[in-house]
Symmetry: C2
Subunit: 403 residues, 2 copies
Amino acid sequence: MGIVVQKFGGSSVATTEKLKIVCNHITKEFEKGNSVAVIVSAQGKTTDKLITEEREITDSPSKREHDVLVSVGEQITISKLAIMLNDMGYKAISLTGWQIPIITDDHFGNAKIKSIRNETILDLFKEGYIVIIAGFQGINENNEITTLGRGGSDTTAVAIAASLNAEKCDIFTDVDGVFTTDPRIAEKVKKIDLISYDEMLELSSLGAKVLHNRCVEIGKKYNIPIVVKETGKENSTGTIVKNSKKLEDMEISGIAKDDNISRITVMGLENKIGKTYKVFNLLAKHKINVDTIVQSFGESINKNLSFTIKSSDLKETIKILEDNLEYLTAREIIHFDNLSKVSIVGIGMTHRTGIASKMFEALYEENINMHLISTSEIKITVLVNQDEADRAVKAIHKKFFNN
Amino acid sequence: MGIVVQKFGGSSVATTEKLKIVCNHITKEFEKGNSVAVIVSAQGKTTDKLITEEREITDSPSKREHDVLVSVGEQITISKLAIMLNDMGYKAISLTGWQIPIITDDHFGNAKIKSIRNETILDLFKEGYIVIIAGFQGINENNEITTLGRGGSDTTAVAIAASLNAEKCDIFTDVDGVFTTDPRIAEKVKKIDLISYDEMLELSSLGAKVLHNRCVEIGKKYNIPIVVKETGKENSTGTIVKNSKKLEDMEISGIAKDDNISRITVMGLENKIGKTYKVFNLLAKHKINVDTIVQSFGESINKNLSFTIKSSDLKETIKILEDNLEYLTAREIIHFDNLSKVSIVGIGMTHRTGIASKMFEALYEENINMHLISTSEIKITVLVNQDEADRAVKAIHKKFFNN
């Protein structure tokens, strides 16, 4: 029998009643003869409550101490879960981040895992224990508590799975997997049974609600199948994230949407080497996150450079660029606000033709204008007006999935 | 300048407002040029709340996991306090039990400190940090979280003070020190300015509300002055617990009372070596805690053996003894219930005469009968009816302190 890692999020462990459901998932896997490591988040609103209390003190807490504070939520959950399993007659033991230890870098609040010592867990497996591990937390090399940032417990789970060379990592959550698009937008959305790591990463706007990018990256690197399942569902098969030949048979896997996008165009940029670099270097210095970039090279001495940013950065971006028009040797900055990115993702498109035209056809039939087109190996992104974006997703979904 | 250790209990750190008062005490000591280590308990009812939640799961939780759970309260306090001090512009850093580490034995829920590594704290002092330490918690040699039991944070504080060879250990609480007796019983009680470790230990029924015995024992062993002070009072001098020649000038230091005492007499016990041992060995096996013991040796072949126990153990004790009358070669078990122990304590009595007779005079004047008398070097204890105990304390207090 093998090693299985299970992860339960904050809403799955929110109450004593819900912990009982979690115990059932754990013992079911354990009774099959598997060694089981379980990663849990803080219960329900525990972390939010701690942060509210912290805000009573200051709006800018010491980052080191903030991590000491917010890491207690997971410690509460591991002990309660171990208490419950022990009470049910199972051998279960809790481990905090430092007890394993999970070693991270020094970035309090958003630390990256550097290494995981797996001996403690493997020894406990040998003694027949179910091992309950606090997600979201680690220690740096100076023995200081760190936390992993948003989606941190997912990352812990997949990293633990990788360190144990587990068969799979089950991520239990409150939805039954990843869907072809957001069910609140399109009709007849379908659960994706199988998806590749790369597709999952590209579908981040869908996936962020389910899986954090970092955990998918680790899954990809160590080839650990990640299964997204619904905690409340008895025999959920969920969505399996792994690489598979089968995936190439499908046109696309899913459709993602990101709202609140702005497009900036730097007009009349001198068409010389280094000018593009100068623009992005300037923005990076101001910590402006630039997304999709499109540059149309012409024969002329000038060029136009377009890129997208989050709308919340729009004002600052325009100011930075306009203040530096001379330095950049550009003529003018123009922008469009209230845009959305709509993307189709699928590794099947690498060896198929007509995928892009099918997408554009759907938009054409709905009379939706595209402000920008950008493509990668497994993704096609278009920029549309935000007030037309839902209609765009609906039309594309219907074209690919409901015909 | 020296090293000062300060400890703040659960009610002193209960709210953000109260934490500000705590910060004032800390920074005041720090501004004097001292290195300051601060030990804190969990805020207000935090630990009680966690235990209530635990009871939802089971009444008999795994002891190991219970300690993982209840140790989070102190971790919350240290981070908040460090955040507040940082926000005030002071260099402050938090340390959990495992980060120091404080090494304890394996007794989850009631662990004893075996050793404290002081290098981490001393290094932080050198860098100018105020060091905020979680009370009540440690780790065993297997890296498992342990807690120290009732009064554990006081014990942590004095043990840290001992390991740092601190000048003193200030225990901030909600009363302004230790009093000559319980203010709810006697009139005109006085704050004790100075008291020895041994007296403090003997005054446990007063002291238990203020200082736990274990912390006084450690203070005595390493000769660390312990100062009990009121958090809410600006310039509290409190009660200093330390050894001092001055103490010998006083008749007594204080008067203690313990209610709910029962007295057992084993009648007609065979007057042979080993019979007394047999009685107490039997009770120890059943975990009955025996307190004051009085044995009147006679010339006869039988003797009567009296001792006191907590009333809650009375029923079980009688049953154990009566079931073993033959084994003990005793004739009969008699008992008195609803008794109180009243004790006067003072190291002055070792070289003074007339202290006992003064105590008995007070009781005689009040027509209070004594069921048993027991004396040690620095204590005289009498057993009286519980409904006369308060009157006894009042009379003795008046005799010694208000004449």
